[in-house]
Symmetry: C2
Subunit: 369 residues, 2 copies
């Protein structure tokens, strides 16, 4: 149905972007799977009439769930397996036991060219480890990164890495910048995304060596991106930058700090508004506005963490998400499968000086580290 490719072939969306998307789903991954997975597919199916789904998981559980949603009729095909990767498995354990699981099979289906993208709400570490084994790393990329879409004052920005790499050298940061830029162009539809490197800008410190070196590399290598220099934490949200590149440790801390801040504020807001009858009445009148605010800041609407740097599209949905959140991840997978971002990445990678690596071998030591 879709062309078949070897693991080192460039991203197959190039070959199929004019075809109807086929999305492979790990139906058993996530805290509330498979219920929210099927709900999410049903929500997506209403807005993506040309998309089909391959559901990897337990047929006995999936069949009645799918039956509840007529919109999925004839568009969701079950690929039975009774194996699945548990949410608390360590990547190394998961990897050994994962062959033939719903997660593995969803990824294998992308590798074989049967589907255009895989979506899972399962164990992040396992998904990344298995993705590297099954799909391999995109030619020229050292290690894949997890990218997330953040809301900004003027729209949205892509921030990466969100946790796949606890450290990142200068070359890796440049790769993240290039991948993020291609994503912002292809998925967020920004014609000329402004790219920044997350750093600390206080006058006493110019930040870390590898970040300064990455900036130099971008400026001197002839990579064709609009480089805006260093971004400070507060500027992630300002709208001045469309892409923010950082290591996975810092990115993960920043993401969770932002979540914690939002939670603190919304808790304080609720408390403040219920302080008196007067404020309660005021809150009631203001409710539509507060609700629209909540929707804008709802983490579920930005709920797809996409794995960039693999030879295939993999979208990770939040493990604890609901049907709406999962549908956001699936929509992202569809957008990605229609885009030509791999070509953008390949074009810029070719401009980087020095080493020319091909896809990395699937070394267990690397994946398990």
């Amino acid at each position: 149905m879709v062309g078949r490719h070897g693991p080192r072939a460039p991203h197959q969306t190039r070959l199929t972007m004019n075809h109807k998307p086929v999305i492979s789903v790990d139906a058993m991954g996530g805290d509330n799977a498979p219920g929210i997975v099927i709900e999410g597919l049903a929500l997506t199916a209403r807005h993506a009439a040309d998309t089909r789904f391959l559901l990897h998981g337990d047929e006995a559980q999936l069949t009645p769930l799918i039956g509840r949603f007529p919109v999925l009729s004839g568009r969701a095909e079950i690929r039975h397996t009774d194996k699945s990767v548990t949410m608390d498995a360590k990547p190394s354990q998961a990897l050994r036991a994962s062959r033939g699981s719903s997660m593995w099979n969803a990824l294998e289906s992308v590798r074989s060219g049967e589907s255009h993208a895989a979506v899972s709400a399962g164990n992040t570490g396992a998904l990344m480890a298995i993705s590297k084994i099954v799909l391999r790393t995109f030619a020229g990329i050292h290690r894949p990164a997890i990218a997330a879409t953040w809301p900004t004052a003027t729209g949205k920005a892509v921030v990466l890495d969100m946790g796949a790499n606890v450290e990142a050298g200068a070359r890796q940061l440049v790769e993240f910048a290039i991948m993020g830029e291609a994503f912002a162009r292809a998925v967020h539809g920004k014609p000329r995304p402004v790219v920044g490197l997350l750093n600390i800008g206080s006058e006493e410190l110019k930040g870390r060596d590898e970040i300064r070196e990455a900036a130099r590399l971008i400026r001197e290598s002839g990579v064709d991106i609009a480089f805006g220099g260093f971004v400070e934490g507060n500027d992630i949200f300002s709208g001045k930058f469309d892409v923010v590149a950082t290591d996975g440790f810092t990115g993960n801390v920043a993401l969770k700090t932002a979540e914690g801040t939002a939670k603190l504020i919304s808790g304080a807001l609720k408390e403040a508004l219920s302080a008196s009858l007067r404020t309660k009445f005021g809150a009631l009148l203001a409710m539509p506005a507060l609700k629209s605010l909540r929707d804008k800041l709802d983490p579920r609407t930005g709920n797809g963490g996409v794995f960039l740097g693999l030879s295939g599209v993999v979208v990770k949905s939040h493990g604890g998400t609901d049907g709406l959140g999962f549908s956001t991840a699936v929509r992202l997978a569809i957008d990605m499968s229609r885009s030509d971002f791999s070509q953008e990445i390949a074009r810029n990678l070719a401009r980087l000086p020095g080493e020319h690596i091909t896809a990395m071998p699937a070394e267990a030591a690397d994946v398990l580290s």
Copy 2:
């Protein structure tokens, strides 16, 4: 007036905590100095009747400003200098030209024992570099850290380092934990503060080596602190931890990301509430509640970044702060000067295994790095 100490003596607050505080102020430091400095002192003076101030700066500018506030009469003594450190000076430049400046003299006044603490809203990097030269590092501490007080759902937490050290090894992280714990005990009044190390807790990654090693050191060294393990970014605000230790790069990114998130939300809230007449009316009724929320989250009320690990108390106020913000920093300096936190630190440092360092020599290479 206050006992005189050499630079390697333990923090002098122990000797003077029952005395009336004398606070040394860099009256020329900050974007809006000296105006906001004098305003801040006046605000503080109303609530700290026993405190005196030594103002380092330009007498011709300071005299008329002080004259506006009767509460400062007889309590603010000017120490004239016409030199000051500019806000945009690099630490290395600042250091060379800073001897005799208002910043230098404020710190020298602490070193000589004439005052109990110094406050400056000036150039952070210069203040840290000069502090290390003038006051030296506290015995047993490798490098000082900047600590900040963050609001949480249940009160407040101290987070450090906020930017003095772009990297931190395991031993340094443990020192930060010990200093933060002593601060939470002495200044926040928490009898048994729970200490955490900032890390990423996603299942695939246990975080960075030095953080795991620091956790092991704390658990095995017999350091007497309540260690709560790893903190994720969102848990900084939960109230589960009273102290969060991290390197200065990550701490600075987290702080600025939190600021950016709060700004994004408040902007969206304003916009949402002015969307229609109805929401405007609602907002009007809810205003007192929203105002109390804003006050709680006002960065100015947490506006003192204290330098921990020096042989003397130094509080850094935000460069762009106003009088209210500066007064918060001064109140923090007064609290610190009354506390006995140095003894807490010394006691725990003695329990750490291995090296026993004394105060570091004031090497220019170190300070200028």
